[in-house]
């Protein structure tokens, strides 16, 4: 029998995903125990202590979930402990995610949070997102909420069509800040990732090799891997257009690269550390939009 190891990861910095730099910092911090666990031939437990974490957003919550599920696949267990706002946020979201569907249906929030939920089956996706959008209550008007619902559905539909997803398939979370006039929506899928999905069509189109180039190509209008005949390559492009219109920011983290679209129509790629192994097996998409 192997010895059990206990690791504590002290999260004493902001864990946010407002910019590619923030996102990569949060990812590196939260995935540290995962890397250590992967390197050892042991089983164990990881405790994320968020007592001194000044703030955490929805994108970071999904990164934390990513690490926890990846640890679980290695046979490890992950726990969050501490006190304060980030801790309460994590607990509220995780509790919500594990509630029965009947209880989840009745949940509303007064703080504008789209509490974390799993979208495990493609045929339930629309209903899950409808309920999820409904939890935000009076933090935004109906047209805004419908727009966000559409955007997230474009993302999750892509994931189901291309992703070859593994448990827990897709997680979504978000928060509308009425006073700050911003909303953040985040979706994480546990699939093969955008670069792998579009690599063959990108190569055919003469796109230089590289995850960042492939993600960028996937965001262009009309680019599709034709996994299913109905695909027209409109989904990711629709997110890009919304971000440009609404003065927001879109961050796509998949494989080894973070791809960033801002209101200034400037595309930017942020290169990760070297290495051939994907940093993230799947795709995290974070949409930051201004509330109108």
């Amino acid at each position: 029998m192997r010895n059990e190891v206990h690791q504590t990861q002290i999260c004493d910095r902001p864990l946010t995903t407002q910019s590619p730099k923030d996102l990569l910092r949060a990812y590196r911090h939260l995935s540290k125990p995962l890397r250590r666990a992967a390197e050892t031939n042991t089983l164990g437990k990881v405790y994320y202590d968020v007592s001194n974490c000044p703030r955490m957003d929805s994108g970071a919550l999904l990164l934390l979930s990513y690490s926890a599920y990846a640890l679980k696949r290695l046979g490890w267990e992950a726990y969050v402990r501490g006190h304060g706002a980030p801790y309460e946020m994590v607990v509220e979201n995780i509790q919500h995610m594990h509630q029965t569907p009947e209880l989840r249906k009745t949940t509303t929030t007064t703080t504008g949070e789209f509490l974390c939920r799993k979208v495990p089956k493609h045929e339930q996706m629309v209903v899950e997102l409808q309920e999820w959008a409904g939890t935000v209550g009076a933090q935004a008007d109906a047209a805004e909420v419908a727009l966000w619902q559409m955007q997230i559905s474009e993302i999750t539909t892509n994931s189901f069509q291309h992703g070859q997803l593994v448990e827990p398939h897709i997680l979504v979370a978000g928060r509308a800040h009425r006073q700050q006039k911003i909303v953040q929506l985040a979706a994480l899928d546990f699939g093969r990732g955008i670069p792998k999905s579009v690599a063959h069509v990108a190569k055919q189109a003469g796109i230089p090799a590289g995850d960042g180039n492939y993600i960028r190509h996937a965001c262009c209008r009309g680019v599709t891997s034709r996994t299913v005949p109905q695909n027209q390559g409109a989904g990711l492009n629709s997110l890009v257009e919304t971000v440009k219109e609404r003065q927001g920011a879109l961050i796509i983290f998949s494989g080894n690269r973070v791809f960033h679209v801002t209101k200034g129509r400037r595309y930017r790629r942020n290169f990760s550390a070297s290495g051939s192994q994907a940093m993230i097996a799947g795709t995290l998409i974070v949409l930051n939009l201004k509330l109108l």
């Binding site: 409808q130 109906a142 727009l147 559409m150 005949p229 109905q230 027209q232 989904g235």
Partner: protein, 101 residues
Amino acid sequence: MENVLDALKHVGTSFPTDEGTRLADVLFSLKIDDWTNVTIDLRKMPAGLLISAFFNAFLQRIHEEKAERLNQARGIKWKLAYPFQEKNVQEWMKDFEPYTP
């Protein structure tokens, strides 16, 4: 005469591509000769259903079953709850390129 089709009575809330295909099948089953007078009311459908994949699946099914009616289908009028949806649908109807395996 204008034919108004209330999608809520015919389309469910499963995966958008499945429901888009179903909507096209419903349209065929109604045996309407001229689709330019057809209006499909989607105002009560969830916003998460009314994405590009739904409309592309609808047009793809039309193309697969009766390719000669694709242009008529592009001219179908849609009743939608929000202006952003109208703009999107207009674009998707215009941009759709049928796929023949």
